[in-house]
Symmetry: D2
Subunit: 111 residues, 4 copies
């Protein structure tokens, strides 16, 4: 992922696109790609989504790639370490969702 | 990121949440978190988004963490390598966006 | 909906919020609210989503209200008539999706 | 809007698409269209977004049409009155955002 951040930084620099890559605009681009990703699944049943055909998997992989690019780029622009941020949130969830209490349940834990 | 995928797999397993974590549902969760992320920036100017205050940066880092968790979890459920998928898309963009032609321009390249 | 647009315009004016309500920012706010809406459904089965309990329906109605507010506000800021725009897209879909050919099928029609 | 809901109901019925139009799936479709809408604005400045050229406005109008279709369809599937839901949320905001206190400010009111 660090390699990817560096590669993106250079990609943007040689095209003189820094002016477009504000955190605000990158967050919009990420939301747009997340929208394309969710659209790939919108008419599939739960079962179909677990067993994508070759064409659908190819499209989903491309959307996952796009989401990753903007996520890495946005984190880089803000100086945020994604693995650290994700692990911190998962620490949080482990505290909030006691396995005994929440086994097999989708309800939300209190904050 | 591989460590994160394994940690998440275990987190889900001990809570018996696999039934909820279909690719369809994970794509929805990712889109939901991307929505919370974009909402953090909605009233900020371009300049303000480049220079977040401490509170805003803390909230944005938490949202970036959430997006990362669902992205890693979804890719793991589908057997997709995120770095590979992202690098493939960036290869694509390097081909489509010739630096001379697209310098300083935000217009879209033809497919 | 016209009454709503007028009510919103006044709501914004007396708070001096026009500076925040650029079409760009309103599109972000709409995407944020659509993210909250999709999050309400993320762990529900298809069947559960057809038969929301009272609490879930109350939350979903609130999210639908928020999406509507930003949609009406954005259209008003751009001078777009939503009913006209929606009917034009539906005309399009009626042309593209011949009932015989697409009966019971979720596949996409060519453009 | 009522006319639109009825027109959509018939459009879906003659294609036998009711099985696809669960509230869950419709919320996903709405989020996908909101993503396409926000993407139209992602590289524009605040000023550019207030003054779209003809091509951009045509694309944005089409996206607003798509968002409206899925919003009306989802509300119809759930038996929610959109104007009522939106007005209720606006009543709420009028209570929470006292004009004196929040004039020219984008900060959030306490719940």
């Amino acid at each position: 992922m660090e390699h990817l951040a560096a590669r993106l930084r250079e990609f943007v620099r040689v095209r003189d696109w820094e002016r477009f890559h504000t955190p605000k605009n990158l967050a919009m681009a990420l939301a747009g790609e997340a929208g394309e990703l969710v659209a790939e699944f919108q008419w599939l049943t739960a079962e179909e989504s677990r067993d994508l055909d070759e064409d659908a998997l190819r499209r989903v992989r491309a959307e996952l790639g796009d989401v990753t690019l903007y996520l890495v780029r946005l984190a880089d622009a803000l100086g945020v370490d994604l693995a650290e941020a994700a692990n911190a949130k998962l620490d949080d969830s482990e505290r909030r969702y006691d396995p005994e209490t929440y086994r097999g349940s989708a309800r939300k834990a209190p904050r």
